[in-house]
């Protein structure tokens, strides 16, 4: 017979961890997406040579494991800048830049996938560069980039498990605390996985819904 010492208050504790995961993810994905759009557009507008410093900067965030970024950022802010900052703030800043570095590439790919002939048609109607971006490129590139962006958002949500290294108690950390106390690792990881699934599922479905609507 299956039995567990998991109590209702433990589940509430896990739910609080899940809330933290959602909060860190939402803030980071929102900030990272805004930055990613700015960086992605800048990268295309600046041209190869002028964009080089930006590309280098973004490559750093894409190439170094997130765990190392979090530890180093935490040490840098605390020891070099000597700032009193919460782990939550550091987690959000690092995850935002991490998201932005990937998002910039998604945005760039989306914009480049809009046929230049379509943009030419827009400009030949007297639209300015900005009007072309706003009314033609943005909607078309969004449709193209959406699946990749959903993938990125889900990825960041799962990667946010790493922010425990800067003392943020999110879902996985909460689970580990309970595992230490209850000694039921497999069952607790199953519950934890179910929580992650419940967070991911609506986002994935929402993406599917938008894709369907736009494909009309």
């Amino acid at each position: 017979m299956f039995s567990t010492s998991l109590t209702l208050s433990d589940v509430v504790f896990l739910a609080q961890g899940a809330g933290m995961t959602i909060l860190v993810t939402a803030l980071s994905v929102a900030t990272g997406t805004v930055l990613g759009v700015i960086f992605g557009v800048l990268r295309l507008q600046l041209g190869t040579i002028l964009a080089m410093p930006l590309v280098f900067f973004l490559d750093i965030f894409r190439s170094i494991p997130l765990l190392i970024q979090l530890v180093l950022a935490n040490a840098f802010v605390g020891m070099v800048l000597q700032l009193e900052t919460s782990g939550f703030t550091i987690a959000c800043i690092v995850l935002s830049l991490y998201t932005a570095s990937y998002c910039a590439e998604i945005v760039r790919g989306g914009i480049q996938a809009v046929p230049s002939t379509t943009r030419r048609a827009a400009r030949s109607l007297g639209m300015t560069w900005f009007q072309d971006m706003r009314y033609i490129v943005a909607p078309l590139a969004t449709r193209i980039a959406l699946p990749s962006w959903i993938g990125l958002a889900l990825g960041v949500m799962k990667d946010s498990a790493l922010v425990y290294v800067v003392q943020v108690t999110e879902l996985l950390k909460s689970t580990q605390i309970l595992i230490t106390r209850l000694q039921e690792p497999l069952f607790l990881l199953l519950v934890c996985g179910a929580f992650y699934f419940l967070i991911s599922f609506p986002l994935a479905r929402f993406g599917g819904y938008l894709e369907k609507r736009w494909s009309k």
């Binding site: 002939t117 030419r120 400009r123 030949s124 007297g126 033609i136 909607p139």
Partner: protein, 240 residues
């Protein structure tokens, strides 16, 4: 009036226009014929400033297109252009395709723009397709939509760049009929085309381009009946 004076244009080391002189008067229909790579399509994109030029001048109603001080966005409002690939905006309905520029560029209200859009779309025979998305239309219908989209800006000049070349043969007729109708209404038009019958029937003047040079220009009867240039004769013999 469109005045083109000793226009030179290069893509890298390749000189595609080698000194073109051409004046097109209000109400005139000029068609440009010639082989691939003769520079005829490039000339059109130079006229509305989509392409920079190496030297020479393009002057539209007294405004020098490639002068630094020229606001191309304003200038393009009076020069409509339709391309070989119709370039529909796929995320907008047929009516929205046509009303977008009048609303955003000319600043018309939605109702005003829609009135113009509906009028232009009915004019090209798409009055029943207003809320359809372009992907549901045939190539010929999309091309007529592109024509209506350009016309909705009330341009003074229309440039047509091989607008029937990408169409299935049975769809060419409907687009050419639309062009003919515009010509009869007195629109000033420059048409790059491979449709010789259209060039002969509709144009006031026909120009033959060969390797970046305007080899010959004249009335259609003269170009098709008594071509003066050796290359024109060869070209016409090859397309007949």
């Amino acid at each position: 009036m469109i005045e083109i004076q000793s226009l030179h244009k290069s893509f890298g080391p390749l000189e595609v226009l080698k000194g073109i002189d051409l004046t097109v008067n209000k109400g005139e229909v000029v068609t440009i014929i010639g082989g691939s790579g003769s520079g005829k399509s490039t000339l059109l994109t130079c006229i509305n400033g989509l392409e920079p030029i190496a030297s020479g001048k393009v002057i539209v109603d007294g405004i020098e297109v490639h002068a630094k001080s020229t606001n191309l966005n304003t200038l393009r409002q009076k020069i409509g252009i339709v391309f070989q690939q119709w370039n529909a905006f796929p995320h907008l309905t047929v009516l929205e395709n046509v009303t977008l520029a009048p609303r955003k560029v000319l600043g018309l209200s939605k109702a005003e723009a829609e009135a113009i859009g509906e009028k232009q779309l009915s004019h090209v025979g798409l009055g029943a397709k207003l809320s359809t998305y372009p992907t549901m239309l045939s190539g010929g219908q999309q091309q007529r939509m592109a024509i209506a989209r350009a016309l909705a800006m009330s341009p003074d000049y229309m440039l047509f760049d091989e607008v029937t070349s990408a169409l299935d043969p049975q769809l060419v007729g409907e687009v050419l009929e639309t062009l003919k109708m515009l010509a009869e209404e007195g629109m000033t038009m420059i048409c790059v085309t491979h449709e010789m019958a259209f060039a002969r029937d509709v144009s006031h003047r026909v120009a033959y381009f060969h390797r970046g040079v305007m080899a010959e220009i004249g009335a259609p009867e003269q170009i098709f009946g008594d071509p003066q240039h050796e290359e024109t004769r060869k070209f016409l013999a090859s397309v007949r």
